[in-house]
Amino acid sequence: MDFNHTEERRMLADSLRRSLERGADWAALAELGVLGALFTEDEGGFGGQGFDIAVVFEELGRAGASAPVLEAGLAGGLLADAGRADLVEQVIAGTLKVTLAHSEPGLRYDLGPITTSAASGTVTGRKSFVTNADGADRLVVSALEDGAVALFLVDPKSEGVSLHTTPALMGGTISEVTLDRAPAERLGLAETLETRLAAATLAVCADALGAMETAKAMTLDYLRTRKQFGVPIGKFQALQHRMADVAIEIEMARSAVINLAGHLSDAAPTRDRHVSATKNLTARAAHLVAEEAIQMHGGIAMTEEYALSDISRRLFAVDHRFGDEDWHLARFIRLSA
């Protein structure tokens, strides 16, 4: 048993943290190897394991970064599964931004049934909740083809593609994508979609863990320095005890992220049971931590200007990505039966 990250992963995490503090741009992230860490050696990267994902996204969450790294891993991973090493190479180099367009309005958190359809080199339908699509070079779009779900590569600038984009609660952007006979290159059947979504869910949880650490650090700092009635508010025992509970739940979330990272390569039923366990617990922890961080700060946490507002919105968003607390609880129960 060993709960220490490998030397390589620790170094990646450290340099990523420092770079993000200095405001690393997309090129710098690619340069650092952040994107390569999401892919196995076979795929052209140097990571791709659960713990690689965990260390990278914890740092991104800690920094509140909104770069489309999750999208690169998710859509890029599907490109790798389709045998498109050429494209994966560009994704890892940071020269090709990709994102997955799978969900559709009315599906809530379910993966199907989808209605977008493919015909003679085009796809038609509406895709929802496509993250960071506005800066993307290509969309990986799922569509029905002879009753089976297949994946297609679509250029968002082509005719027949329109995006309605808004800011996203978790940072970055989110788009509704309308496809009207949009030119599409077939990648293959979507057989690995659930596997890649399991990894993406781990990424969201690790990201939340980092964001929770930041929320905790900011709150502790505030409790130490902010005075009320002449003493630092951190001297008030009621807040101390709640802070202790916050710290405990973060350690629980850290443990849950480790569990999922360690079981990400297991067979689907075991893996998905861990996906749902970890996502359920992380969503609960993120909710508690964000609400408590705001409440213990008081008014200042309600302002857009104060950095906690970004972090707490990111934490509230956790529940809405890839299935919420109750959706995963129900799935955990099904998979445990």
Partner: protein
């Protein structure tokens, strides 16, 4: 014991309902139902309709042109207004400054200001909170120094709600530095047009411009704008804070929120069935509804007690704590209910298209959830209220 309204109260409720039905513009009600921000014109229009009907000064004493509503009547009015999604009465003039002027103001101040509050000629805002003070209101630092027949005011106020619409501000200022922090505070009325006042917007976590900072640099305020006596402003402010607040539990808002939550739960589909039929969601909803049924009675008990002359004491604090938590839980459940549609984060201040791509009921749920984190913080945080409760019951 009788859980029913008296005949008079029923008649009053029916009158309020009929007023709301005929006078509340549909567009304003829809904005209310969808929790969209109101414009100043919306507020002004509703203010004048309320005034025409005599509802604005409902709880004012008769000698000032009011109707001297009982606490139960006030409660009925607030609840019916919330259920109809009417705008709340902007409280700063009508409900906060007016009682202070009526109790402690000079005859001249009463005669001049009270009618202007009703007519809407003056829009007041509140200058109490200061940066770094939080719930420790008495630590305020904004200074007013007497020079001849003026005070010269310097300092900064914050969390000034809707200050961007106001032409007047009532302020607590420090006029003396000796004794306890509560001593040496005065209550000043200030014209927002006076040179040296600057209003800066504060954008909140949901992207809304609702509160402001107000900066005072050598602002000259005539001494006749002092309310009551110099250095006794704390007494007046406390009078306001302990002034019976029937709406503190927010039961009307909670009830309206629960209604709209139920509509969402019937509309949102999950696995081909309405979300309302999902057992986990139904359990969350039912627990909240059960709590609200109790909360409504808890609130009425206190309201009825106030009419019977009982001082509310710790009950107000209990209502504030539990009422704010319940409202926040309703907002939280609405956020859960809209599912992935919580992700598009559309707000007036952030860039991008302001149109939310999801169903109408999803357009503001996330923003409302975020915005209402404030209700357990402002007006004496829930932590301060718990302190008041234990002081009352523990007596330590």
């Amino acid at each position: 014991m009788d859980l029913n309204y008296t005949e008079e109260e029923v008649a009053f409720r029916d009158a309020v309902r009929s007023f709301l039905k005929t006078q509340l513009p549909e567009e304003i009600a829809r904005k209310g139902a969808e929790a969209r921000p109101l414009t100043k014109a919306d507020y002004d229009l509703w203010h004048s309709r309320l005034n025409e009907a005599g509802y604005l000064a409902g709880s004012w004493p008769k000698k000032f042109g009011g109707a001297e509503w009982s606490a139960v009547q006030k409660h009925i009015f607030e609840e019916e207004s919330a259920l109809a999604h009417a705008p709340r009465i902007v409280p700063f003039g009508v409900a906060m400054l007016a009682p202070v002027l009526q109790a402690f103001g000079s005859k001249e101040q009463q005669d001049y200001y009270l009618p202007r509050i009703l007519s809407g000629e003056d829009w007041w805002c509140q200058g109490y909170s200061e940066p770094g003070a939080g719930s420790d209101l008495a630590s305020l630092k904004t200074r007013a120094v007497r020079e001849g027949d003026h005070y010269i005011v310097n300092g900064q106020k914050t969390w000034t709600t809707l200050g961007q619409y106001a032409n007047k501000i009532f302020c607590l200022v420090r006029t003396g530095t000796e004794g306890k922090p509560q001593e040496g505070i005065s209550f000043l009325l200030i014209d927002m047009d006076t040179p040296g006042i600057e209003v800066r917007p504060i954008i909140l976590i949901d992207g809304v411009h609702e509160v402001n900072e107000v900066w005072f640099t050598d602002v000259k305020v005539p001494v006749e704008n002092l309310v009551g006596k110099e250095n006794e402003g704390w007494t007046y402010a406390k009078y306001l804070l302990t002034h019976e607040r029937t709406g503190i539990a927010g039961v009307g808002f909670a009830t309206a929120g629960l209604q709209s939550l139920k509509r969402i739960a019937k509309t949102e589909m999950q696995n081909g069935r309405p979300l309302a039929e999902d057992p986990f969601f139904a359990a969350r909803l039912a627990r909240i509804e059960i709590d609200l049924m109790a909360m409504a009675t808890f609130n009425l008990r206190t309201v009825a007690g106030a009419d019977a002359g009982k001082a509310p004491g710790a009950e107000s604090s209990m209502l504030k704590v539990r009422g704010s938590i319940l409202r926040q839980q309703i907002n939280d459940l609405a956020r859960r209910a809209i599912g992935p549609w919580a992700q598009p984060f559309v707000s007036e201040q952030l860039e991008g298209n302001l149109y939310h791509p999801g169903p109408d009921h999803a357009a503001r749920a996330t923003n409302t959830y975020l915005n209402n984190r404030k209700i357990s913080i402002y007006g004496g945080s829930n932590e301060v209220q718990r302190g008041i409760i234990t002081k009352a019951i523990l007596g330590l």
